[in-house]
């Protein structure tokens, strides 16, 4: 409710600034114009959203699968952890803007490099939060598992993995926002559709309102994805949600 009031206030201020501030429509369209563009271009926006959404969803999925597997492997092997942690950090430090065109050259013009780029930017937060949670599992609980004759794998399955699940999902939630940015940069680097591509095309065509409309759709998509993951988190790990209502 508070979020809605704040949002309406910001929109009103923007509209007032655009109406009274004598700003050129082509430079900063007013919210009303963006709303019109949203309606007029709805078919175009929808088509491009589907493309971007697919890239983001598949990218996050790939990052989740690889990230969870990687976190488990690093958790089990101290040697592997020490050997690959610098690489992991490096994977996050590489600027997407730089790597995206290179990946397009390597993987082609299709959806593959987009998925790779989204997965690349999402991988790190998922691995780090999961690995951290795995290393924080109560040592007394692990001792308990030992007295129950649990093998390393059994202890992981019954005690460590469920304990780390909330953190893994939190990592995925962090990843959602940057996943959208990653997808846009990937489309900038070379694509024939998608919301990032649409924004890139609309600006030189002086369709500023359309570009803003695409930005609005992107933002709304990221918010929707975030809350969808939040819902998944509540369903999958209900024992934590009682303490922290969002």
């Amino acid at each position: 409710m508070m979020a809605l009031v704040l949002f309406a206030g910001l929109l009103g201020a923007w509209q007032l600034y655009a109406d009274l501030g004598n700003v050129d429509d082509l430079i900063l369209p007013a919210p009303a114009q963006i709303a019109t563009a949203l309606w007029d271009d709805r078919a175009l926006l929808w088509h491009n959203l589907l493309v971007t959404a697919q890239e983001v969803a598949l990218g996050i999925l790939a990052a989740l699968v690889l990230g969870l597997a990687c976190a488990a492997a690093l958790h089990f092997s101290r040697v592997l952890r020490h050997a690959t942690y610098p690489l992991l950090v490096a994977s996050q430090a590489v600027p997407v803007v730089v790597i995206a065109p290179l990946l397009i050259v390597w993987l082609g013009f299709g959806i593959a490099p987009k998925i790779a780029i989204v997965a690349l930017v999402c991988f790190f937060p998922i691995v780090v939060t999961t690995l951290d949670a795995l290393s924080r599992v109560d040592p007394d609980t692990l001792k308990l598992m030992r007295t129950l004759d649990a093998s390393r794998w059994t202890a992981f399955r019954f005690a460590e993995a469920p304990a780390a699940l909330p953190a893994a999902l939190s990592g995925a939630k962090i990843a959602v926002a940057i996943a959208v940015i990653g997808a846009v940069f990937a489309e900038y680097a070379g694509s024939s559709d998608g919301l990032g591509h649409l924004i890139l095309q609309s600006i030189p065509q002086l369709e500023t309102a359309r570009a803003w409309a695409a930005v609005v759709v992107l933002a709304a998509f990221a918010v929707a994805l975030f809350y969808a993951l939040d819902l998944v988190q509540r369903r999958l790990v209900p024992w934590t949600s009682t303490e922290r209502p969002l």
Partner: protein
């Protein structure tokens, strides 16, 4: 007591050090099969270390520890917050390879005997402290090991819940005492009523020790060594106000107070 009986736990001159700290020094202790032995001592006297030695979680630096397979129940219940009470109790069965349904079916009949009927599906956060300890105790029983090591099992509870749990455990121990001590329970189904178990109870509460145990072993402050063994030949059920209990508690407290304060700290 019990020199003619089979020994479930034999600790021979065991010493355990952690770095420069000696937690246990030259401890010798025997627990006969079916016997309930309480170990009392001040905080930090190595009581928990003694249990970890018996459970095989630690090895002594000197001396030997031989024990039948032992299950440990810690002061903290250590229930898995995401699992129901029933699944928590059934955890040892799952760990040993039973399927979810099979493990639940084996654990469910024990809930009524533990005053937990109706709470099978509750998560630990929805249970009272006493109930959580009972689920933890049930889990320890379902591990199916002949020796139970209880490490301050009720210390985290408030006074009323602790008194309730002591009475409840005393009754459970008595039930076991009247069954054949030669057959340690290995089958989960028998865990609720069950046959004789060997119990090694560690506590800093002398009254709890006297109420529950057949024999009380007193450890000195760190490094822990055995300074007295007091047999408790009192009829059960016992109450804290029974003259015999009062006398023994006073005797144990005397030993604790006069125990030499160790130089090594």
């Amino acid at each position: 007591m019990g020199s003619d009986r089979e020994q479930a736990v034999v600790v021979q001159r065991a010493t355990r050090r952690f770095g420069s700290v000696t937690a246990l020094a030259d401890v010798t202790l025997q627990v006969a099969t079916g016997e309930v032995v309480a170990v009392v001592g001040p905080s930090g006297c190595g009581k928990s270390t003694l249990l970890e030695l018996v459970c095989g979680l630690e090895s002594p630096d000197e001396g030997t520890v031989t024990a039948a397979p032992a299950a440990l129940m810690a002061q903290r219940d250590l229930l898995l917050p995401w699992a129901s009470a029933l699944d928590n109790a059934a955890l040892p069965l799952r760990v040993h390879g039973a399927g979810r349904r099979e493990a639940r079916a084996a654990a469910a009949p024990t809930f009524a005997a533990f005053g937990l009927a109706g709470f099978e599906g509750s998560r630990p956060a929805q249970l009272s402290g006493g109930m959580r300890q009972r689920v933890a105790f049930l889990r320890t029983l379902l591990a199916g090991k002949p020796v139970l090591c209880l490490d301050e099992p009720f210390a985290a509870l408030d006074a009323i819940a602790r008194a309730e749990m002591q009475a409840w455990l005393a009754a459970a121990l008595e039930r076991w005492a009247h069954t054949d001590p030669a057959t340690p329970t290995a089958t989960p189904a028998a865990a609720g009523g069950g046959s004789a178990r060997t119990v090694l109870l560690v506590t800093h509460d002398v009254e709890e020790a006297v109420l529950l145990a057949d024999r009380v072993v007193v450890l000195s402050p760190r490094p822990g060594r055995v300074v007295a063994e007091l047999p408790v030949d009192l009829p059960r059920p016992r109450a804290a106000t029974d003259p015999g209990v009062v006398v023994l508690r006073a005797a144990a407290l005397d030993v604790l107070r006069s125990a030499p304060v160790a130089a090594a700290r």
